[in-house]
């Protein structure tokens, strides 16, 4: 991606590596933005994975495409398009899923239809615009290396607002996500909460996708949370682990992209997948020791 850094070379000396990594302002901006995104996506993603709404999360991240083309067609700023489409998409999915009983098949069909329709709109806008959509790949894969101070600041504000939302409704939302019928019976406003959560997810995705691209938002939403929930069932520990993993994955991915010349998106998704795979294998080894050792009778079941 960037081939003007002849001095950069990864070594075993971590301090010199860090110094090289932060030598350029664009890299500092990228690391700061990446950290903010990792924190925000981690917390939102943790609830998303818990509520098994990964498909909705992906659909929202894809809405970047119609959002951007819509803004292009009407000559608006891209941010307006992103927020409009992500918000509308979140409302439709939440409204359709808010039946008296959650029906997985229906939810999956609605989400798929919304996504296809959103993409179809984007494609139509592009065809109506007739011009060339510059940076088609940046839309999907982001442009991590062109982040400005202003964008980092905006992102930080959105992050604080999102964290404030989760601090306010985290407890009832957790209750409603884990055991919906009981939460409903105890007077928790389940429908309002699921609508609010979907909107928060949509706005988070819209804020981050502008900078990191649709692909990275999705990777950072799902992988750290899925890994952390495999490792520990405790709520606080699992949330903290999600955020830490998200930050670590982002930093390692950015550093690798800086030292070795392949796209950031590839490195971050690859590291995230690797971490998830290791956690998954370790979980399987702990839950089914017989699979790993082949001695079926000797291993005793946990008391």
């Amino acid at each position: 991606m960037v081939s003007h850094l002849p001095l950069a070379a990864l070594s075993v000396d971590l301090i010199s590596d860090f110094r090289q990594l932060t030598a350029y302002p664009f890299m500092v901006n990228a690391l700061e933005a990446g950290t903010v995104v990792a924190v925000m996506a981690g917390v939102v993603g943790w609830f998303m994975v818990l509520r098994r709404e990964t498909f909705a999360g992906h659909t929202l991240s894809v809405m970047a495409f119609p959002g951007a083309t819509f803004a292009l067609l009407l000559g608006l700023s891209a941010a307006v398009g992103y927020y409009t489409f992500c918000g509308a998409c979140a409302l439709v999915i939440a409204a359709a899923a808010a039946g008296r009983r959650r029906h997985r098949g229906e939810e999956s069909a609605v989400t798929g239809t919304v996504q296809a329709f959103g993409l179809a709109c984007g494609f139509l806008f592009l065809s109506l615009y007739q011009g060339v959509l510059a940076g088609y790949e940046n839309l999907l894969f982001g442009d991590f290396l062109g982040i400005t101070r202003g964008q980092v600041l905006t992102l930080a504000i959105v992050c604080v607002v999102a964290l404030g939302f989760f601090a306010a409704v985290g407890r009832p939302l957790l209750f409603a996500s884990v055991d919906e019928p009981v939460a409903r019976a105890s007077g928790v406003p389940v429908r309002a909460l699921s609508l609010a959560f979907m909107l928060a997810l949509g706005l988070t995705v819209a804020a981050t996708a502008q900078i990191t691209g649709a692909l990275l938002v999705f990777a950072l939403l799902v992988a750290p949370a899925a890994t952390a929930q495999l490792i520990t069932p405790r709520v606080g520990a699992s949330l903290a682990l999600t955020v830490l993993l998200g930050i670590a994955i982002t930093w390692v991915g950015l550093a690798l992209a800086y030292f070795y010349n392949y796209p950031v998106g590839f490195y971050i998704t690859a590291v995230a997948f690797l971490v998830y795979l290791i956690a998954r294998l370790a979980r399987a080894a702990i839950d089914h020791p017989t699979l790993m050792h082949g001695r079926s009778r000797d291993v005793q079941a946990p008391a």
């Binding site: 999360g57 069909a109 609605v110 996504q115 993409l119 139509l124 790949e137 692909l215």
Partner: protein
């Protein structure tokens, strides 16, 4: 309209893939696995790019990647029900790999990679050659034949897996076979009509059909019928209005029908295991 060859090709391939998509889409919606179809259509993108980067036939890369990943998702999921978190993580990784192949590919061939990416994701049904259309139709017909052959046990296994397993239905194998068929469908459809259109044809007609009838066999047929009708209507409309992309028109029709079905039926005609089971069994008596 039919005087032109590209229109005939589009109708042939479009109809065949719509039938396959509508039928398989019903099972996919019934088992809440639309996300798997979505993920596989992006796997197709990575597979095609990998094949292009390695210099082998793109079709081989497409089918190998989608069917392998489909089976992997099934194997990792619970009871061959690919679960959404596994799909999500794999999906992100596969997309990242796609970016890697795109970078690898673009260093070799200069520009034009964005165009390739756009074509792999959106396809163009009006850009099919006659021979491509025939191949697409034959593959879709094969998928439909296999699907109809296993329709009855697959419905049984989808509606009530526990009872089906107790009766000796190979629930796990059927789940894997469905995912493999879904993989093959996405591989073919992505190349012929684009990933975007396939997702619409999987989700919307089946969702509408599930709303309109509680009988699984009727819903299966209705889903295929809606998919075909939307395809025909969309192709006609986009032929008349050149600026309108065919996939956008087809999806707009499908989404419109689903919306109507959603608004006109008060609640989902729930497939309660017992009721649906008697319908599945009733047809053999």
């Amino acid at each position: 309209m039919f005087a032109q060859e590209f229109v005939r090709s589009a109708w042939l391939a479009g109809t065949a893939i719509a039938v396959a998509g509508g039928l398989i889409g019903y099972f996919v919606v019934l088992r809440a696995q639309v996300f798997a179809g979505d993920a596989l259509s992006h796997v197709a993108f990575t597979g095609a790019l990998a094949a292009a980067a390695a210099g082998i036939d793109i079709r081989i890369g497409l089918f190998a990647a989608t069917i392998l990943i489909a089976l992997m998702l099934g194997a990792l999921g619970d009871r061959s029900h690919a679960d959404d978190v596994t799909i999500g993580v794999t999906f992100a990784a596969i997309l990242g790999l796609g970016v890697y192949f795109l970078a690898l590919f673009s260093t070799g061939s200069g520009g034009g990679n964005g165009l390739l990416g756009a074509r792999a994701l959106f396809g163009s049904i009006f850009g099919l050659s006659a021979s491509d259309a025939v191949i697409a139709a034959v593959i879709a017909a094969g998928i439909v034949a296999v699907l109809l052959a296993i329709a009855r046990p697959l419905l049984f296994a989808s509606v009530d897996p526990a009872v089906a397993a107790a009766r000796g239905v190979p629930v796990r194998a059927l789940g894997l076979l469905l995912l493999a068929l879904l993989g093959a469908t996405t591989a073919e459809a992505t190349q012929a009509i684009g990933a975007l259109l396939l997702l619409g044809l999987l989700a919307a007609p089946a969702g509408a059909a599930q709303r309109l009838t509680a009988n699984p066999y009727h819903a299966l047929g209705l889903s295929a019928a809606i998919a075909v009708l939307c395809t025909w209507a969309g192709l006609t409309l986009s032929y008349l209005i050149p600026r309108l992309p065919p996939s956008s028109a087809i999806i707009a029709f499908a989404a419109g029908i689903y919306l109507l079905a959603f608004l006109t039926t008060s609640d989902l005609r729930q497939l309660r295991p017992r009721g649906a089971m008697s319908m599945i069994r009733g047809t053999e008596n």
